[in-house]
Symmetry: none
Subunit: 140 residues, 4 copies
């Protein structure tokens, strides 16, 4: 038997509207079921154990560079982990939006933490860690 | 200025517990911020279905640059789609292996096709298309 | 297919000797290749005088990202000229210092103005505009 | 009294045409005088001693990626000096021409050598080493 808990969530009005549209389009009976699925999907990703494996990868971020203090925060985090971040490619999508791609290399766990703190920064609209390989251990 | 709406969600107790733990581990200030990020991430993925949607993203490739004709092939494909590919960041992982990240923007379908042909190229050890957003259509 | 012309040049004996030494030190296969490179380099410089020439180039900046408001200012300038700036490569030199390289393309005059305003920004320790060619108008 | 030597040079026909036009525009009496000036200018640059100073900088290259074996050569040189080259930004200017910017850091002399061998590669239309600072030793 499942024990269900009820709690409240605050979302931007437009974002909620988009969520509801996606729920309809995906065929969910209600919002809670859709959110439960999202949480489970993210938990699975989050739990992935990369251990002490040496990985290469990219962190992709989209954000509004006009958001106060956001750029300083993102750059502070990046400079604090200069050993993991090789270089960053910044593309100016339009007057507001930036696409930033960080090339990273190192142990999986600390890289995951840097990605998490960048993506969690308020004002980052979308972020994603793409883990690939250093190529060493993968025959062509 | 943001307009925020409050609504209630029902989740399995254990799932909520796991969500809260993930929020702490990822450094979110509260549950709503985490759920907003999940919703946005899923919206981005969901919109991938719509072929004429304008998207931004990255294509990540790892390959051995000593593989005969591989670099010419990859560069030929990239130059043939100069309208979709903004710039490419190339990192020399070691004597053999390259990490290449392409920043892309344009219609989703042709971008997927370019990614497919790059990833399918013989000698590319790992490749991944990461679709994000142009930021235009995504509320903060 | 290239059409090559042969012609003769008169040089001071000592200067020719120095040219040949430089060719060896720089790794040129022969004198003609070295002279062709010199001619092209001087053509690129010579053409910079004509303000409406279509050019490609890079703007190199070194700055301390902890300087208040500097990053916002630099990014604002870059986003205001998104038509000239293709992409920006950001390297984290250490905890404080950033090396930023902007790939630019467009008319020479507006590019020079953008470079000037970036380099003049308070907190930029060193900046340089490197003008090269779009390749179109430069024979092999 | 000067001792003059006569030797022959092979140049692409179009490039020779451009050289002659530049000679006229700059007011040179003949080709040999112009080439002598170019050689001297490059000798001055080449002789610049940077010693063991730690520098940061960029190497900018424009080349035709269809040139046989050029990309492999450039990439081989870059991978052989992975300790000096942090990352490379590649922009597809058109169907033929590439703009490539390498972010470099290390001792000045070896960096100059890498730059020389990249720029001397047959098919590179224009190349330039831009030396800046690591920021350490430069007060804001």
């Amino acid at each position: 038997m499942e024990s269900v808990t009820r709690f409240s969530v605050s979302l931007d009005k437009k974002l909620l509207h988009e969520l509801d549209r996606m729920c309809r389009e995906k065929g969910y009976d209600n919002r809670s079921l859709a959110i439960a699925d999202m949480v489970r999907a993210h938990l699975v990703e989050h739990r992935q154990q990369f251990g002490e494996q040496d990985i290469a990868g990219t962190i992709t971020l989209v954000y509004d560079h006009h958001k106060p203090h956001l750029m300083e925060l993102l750059t502070d985090i990046q400079h604090d982990h200069g050993d993991l971040i090789i270089a960053t490619l910044h593309v100016h999508l339009d007057h507001h939006n930036c696409l930033e791609v960080l090339a990273v290399r190192g142990q999986a766990e600390p890289i995951k933490k840097v990605a998490d703190s960048l993506i969690a920064a308020k004002g980052v609209k979308h972020g994603k860690l793409t883990i690939t390989t250093t190529g060493h251990d993968l025959p062509a």
